[in-house]
Subunit: 151 residues, 4 copies
């Protein structure tokens, strides 16, 4: 993996990429002065929501319209290339890597100073409550109209 | 992977496994009523500290004694098999999977009702501050006396 | 306020006090090496749940039985007397200070080395969903049977 | 307190107010579907940093220049008037209420739909490491040049 991709390089040519710029907060960091790693995963999660909203599909609306309870994770991977510190400006980029029947793979990367800082991938499932038992969740096929918005 | 390993099954026979039991807190959970996934990674992180402390190597002491700034991540993977909810009792198990020169692979699994809920693996690096520039970090060989404690 | 109350001093004589001991985690702390203050409030929240569970009223059960959506805050105050660091052992103590019709005041204090580290007070409301509009919440009188459990 | 102040009303006429608009994230919310209250305090903390940066005093620079370890809290109060949910757009406003010798009172309010959602106040201390013992912290007088930037 090229660790110094310029910010402008498109991680997924021809597909929508959602970019969000934010500063690293004091509360994101640990006693070593760098971002506490689970915070990056929280950034992935928020950016997945940003990606969907950016194509006109805010997740709160998907929940209301399609009766899903969310898109919980079945798998996550992340590689950390360089640390970030309080006050650093980072860019979080997210895109769809692949659609399955009920699954979606979301790619993420975080850039600092135009260099790759974190690379990640989430596998999420489109789930609704089980009508027979509210606390059980069931995978459902992702509606084609949702997938089409990303084309 | 066997998803219903009994709680008693040893994930790494012959090696120390640190087990910590806790209840899922309200603040761990999201609007779907299940644990917000980055919280599991925070549990991995805390349990890695528990594992080291359990063999007589509390990390605050390692920091003082060996001049490290911590053991930041270079890689993390997690698979989520079943959700947990507010009030559920979960057991987090952690062990060393492998030692490298400056790296260590830590295995984790989280059990609920004696069934596998989450499986994870962190790759961490033993790092000290660069003496020339405090905000840079340098990987260092893991002292043999640290490794020996896990044998 | 006496800042060095011994651990054994009872903050509310004659009333149940819930005590929970935990170690400060790496992820609780900030770049100054001390607990990031909102984390103390998360500890208050979790300990309120522990207090209710300790008298036989686990909150998940109250939610199911009484149709409440939780006990959201209307007010919180905290005073911070001494910082705590990664690995410190702290004790979180919580008790009911006062019952109102739909409100309850929960007192908290956090001790480190038998000295007062944090003192706090939450005012919470017993709320249910508005039957006419699910996303609105309505305050409800706290059932006497709930209050009686703390006597 | 007027709970429906328009967004444009100035909480502290003649003094700089830092405003930050953000969306409520999935990970900010709890199983009741509303923001988990300690998250609001984390927003206060981040907005205090934003306020200082907005007058040309980024906190990372204050740390380097003045040798402080941060501005830890001694007191916090918050009142919660209306809940916010995933996807809601909120505005966090912060300003200096008062300067003491080593203390500063920071006021905060969070608006949703131009109505007051949360009101808060932090008392922070300007602290440096004790030169005799690095893990002890000492209050220091706030430099006049810092105070002057807010005039």
């Amino acid at each position: 993996m090229n660790r110094s991709l310029p910010k402008s390089a498109d991680p997924m040519p021809g597909h929508p990429v959602y970019r969000y710029e934010r500063q690293v907060e004091w509360g994101d960091c640990d006693p070593a002065g760098i971002v506490f790693y689970p915070r990056y995963l929280a950034m992935f999660d928020a950016n997945t929501a940003g990606l969907f909203a950016s194509v006109g599909l805010p997740i709160p609306e998907l929940i209301r319209k399609h009766g899903i309870v969310g898109m919980p994770l079945v798998d996550v991977q992340a590689k950390f290339y360089r640390p970030s510190r309080f006050g650093d400006c980072i860019t979080i980029e997210s895109w769809i890597e692949e659609w399955g029947r009920a699954k979606v793979i979301v790619g993420h990367r975080i850039l600092r100073d135009e260099q790759l800082a974190v690379q990640g991938r989430e596998i999420r499932v489109w789930v609704a409550s089980d009508p027979e038992e509210e606390t059980r969740m069931q995978a459902r096929p992702i509606p084609q109209e949702v997938i089409d918005r990303f084309r």
